[in-house]
């Protein structure tokens, strides 16, 4: 279990200084920790709490509320498939089936090579390109099932 680096701690302190109340930096601090450690292991959460001078229980409580924090290892690239109404109307279920088939995993799972984790997502505010999905920070759409291989090929 690696400790948070000094650079990460410095960044968390920089975020804290942006707000009149230091706890406002908590979500940002958790992302700093997650990006460095990959996962919000309890030991990592404890270090965030220590730097921010907050109770560990409070930090855990807040982190567990939000979808984008991870508590177990995941793939290098997170695939988020929107399955909300506009994407449903445009065939997201077929795209999702193809993804599961090509990756050989179910929702919430990670490929054995650690490349991809597959999840559904709430509406990602890009309904003009429905059916859409995000791979890491990138938006893709409209995604037809036959385009899946090409899209996945862009991510090592």
């Amino acid at each position: 279990m690696p400790d948070l680096s000094d650079a990460a701690k410095t960044e968390i302190r920089r975020l804290m200084a942006q707000f009149p109340h230091r706890q406002s930096a908590l979500l940002g601090a958790l992302f700093v920790a997650q990006e460095e450690a990959g996962v919000l292991f309890p030991e990592i959460v404890a270090q965030v709490a220590e730097v921010m001078r907050l109770p560990e229980s409070e930090v855990t409580s807040v982190a567990s509320f939000y979808h984008l924090f991870r508590f177990k290892p995941e793939g290098r690239h997170l695939i988020q498939v929107c399955t909300n109404v506009s994407c449903l109307l445009n065939g997201c279920d077929r795209t999702l089936e193809r993804l599961k088939h090509r990756l050989g995993i179910e929702l919430g799972e990670t490929t054995p090579d650690g490349r991809f984790t597959l999840r559904t997502a709430e509406c990602l505010a890009a309904c003009e390109i429905a059916p859409m999905m995000m791979v890491g920070p990138d938006r893709h759409g409209p995604v037809q099932p036959e385009q899946i291989d090409e899209i996945l090929g862009k991510y090592a």
Binding site: L27, Y66, F69, N84, V85, S86, L89, A125, C127, R139
Partner: protein, 422 residues
């Protein structure tokens, strides 16, 4: 003919650059505002008739007037850039396409209410918008549009971008403030916690939507009289089964039919069946309502709790199974319920279970009364608008598309999808 202005420059590749923005008249509204007393800026916005574009439609100028004028009281500007209402994508379009317009609107709003600190609560998934916005903010600081002595005046404003972490509920204004304070995004009781009175850190806070503040920049640049002549433009996010999904700028009060036509109409060989006029939190309206004006005020849109909301028009053609659509919508609210109040936390789970049964061929006719009963139990009883968003789609589809539910229950199959794929 009113000119389109909110979207006028969003597709110019250099619009995010301060120099390009200025060359197209940018920051003129701020220059004009700084030459007026702050109260006059608020008056100008109030006279323009602008109503908040986040979904509630509350008068923007009026909202600002709720904040105390006392300069000794610390006040904040908070921008709701946590766009998440299903079917809505106009704020993201503005953030990516015209970031300085938002910054200009923020400074004008801050000056009007006497705030010296603004926070933009941006959806975490908006990676592209964040990069564009942070670059624009840095430019605005470098050129004296943010920071101390803005454009030679005595006014100071700092802007910080904070992000969410994936929670639809954080779009609700008091839940947003909780999240911005570093807590779980659970809504606060209103009253007493109206943001204008007790907002961020319990201080008076003007909480405005991205599109609203872009309107403010235009109102100050051109004057409220000009703005009123434009017929109260609003951005419609149009998606679903239309030929050209996208954001369209049309006057408030445009009929559903005209908005659909603006988006290229229905796809070849398909007919309009129904729509959500204001995101999935509104009721589902069938074809008979095509000539209904999309407006905050007109009661005609208010069918089974339908509303303009965030002006997200989700269009469905005759291949759509309404039972499946409503089931998917309720699943979303179930997943996003914060769990604070019982009607929302339990009601969304119960309704999903009934839909699962119906869609898996195990439905019973009594389930329709059960759905209606659970929806009634959630109406007016939920702590915040999230739970209250569920009943409209249930009531309206049970009324307008009851035969589809009955067909699913009777035959364990879907005649609509069967016909569409025949």
């Amino acid at each position: 003919m009113p000119e389109s202005f909110l979207l006028k420059y969003v597709h110019e590749s250099d619009q995010g650059e301060l120099a390009a923005y200025r060359s197209r008249g940018g920051y003129e509204g701020l220059r004009r505002a700084l030459a007026m007393p702050p109260e006059q800026v608020t008056d100008e916005v109030e006279k323009s008739g602008l109503r908040g574009r986040g979904g509630a439609g509350f008068g923007t100028g009026r909202k600002w007037k709720f904040l105390p004028r006392d300069p000794a009281v610390t006040k904040y500007i908070v921008v709701n850039a946590d766009e998440g209402e299903p079917g809505t994508f106009k704020d993201r379009t503005l953030l990516e396409g015209d970031p300085h317009r938002l910054i200009e609107g923020i400074v004008i709003a801050g000056y009007a209410i006497g705030a010296h600190q603004a926070f933009i609560y941006l959806r975490r998934e908006f990676h592209r918008a964040r990069a564009i916005l942070e670059r624009a903010i840095a430019q605005a600081y470098a050129e004296g549009y943010l920071g101390a002595n803005i454009q030679g005046s005595a006014y100071q404003l700092d802007v910080v971008v904070a992000t969410g972490a994936g929670a639809y509920i954080a779009g609700e204004e008091t839940a947003l403030l909780e999240s911005l304070e570093g807590h779980r995004a659970m809504p606060r009781l209103k009253p007493p916690f109206y943001p204008a009175v007790q907002g961020l850190y319990m201080q008076p806070t003007a909480l405005n939507n991205v599109e609203t503040l872009c309107h403010v920049a235009w109102i100050l640049a051109r004057g409220q009289e000009w703005y009123r002549q434009q017929g109260a433009p609003i951005l419609f996010s149009v998606s679903g089964h239309v030929q050209h999904p996208g954001v369209y700028e049309l006057p408030l009060g445009t009929t559903i039919r005209t908005v659909v036509e603006a988006a290229g109409g229905m796809r070849p060989g398909r007919a309009f069946k129904a729509c959500f006029p204001g995101g999935s939190s509104s009721a589902v309206l069938p074809e008979a309502y095509l000539d209904t004006p999309m407006d905050y005020d007109l009661t005609k849109l208010d069918v089974y709790g339908s509303m303009l909301g965030s002006a997200a028009l989700i269009v469905m053609d005759d291949s759509t199974c309404m039972v499946e659509v409503v089931a998917r919508t309720v699943e979303f609210y179930r997943d996003e319920s914060c769990g604070k109040c019982t009607p929302c936390r339990e009601g969304t789970v119960w309704i999903t279970q009934v839909f699962d049964r119906i869609l898996h061929g195990q439905g019973r006719m009594e389930d329709l009364d059960l759905l209606n009963g659970i929806a009634k139990g959630m109406t007016g009883t939920c702590f915040c608008p999230l739970g209250e968003s569920v009943p409209p789609a249930i009531y309206s589809t049970l009324r307008f598309f009851r035969h589809e539910y009955e067909h699913h229950i009777r035959t364990a199959g879907c005649d609509v999808r069967a016909a569409a794929h025949a």
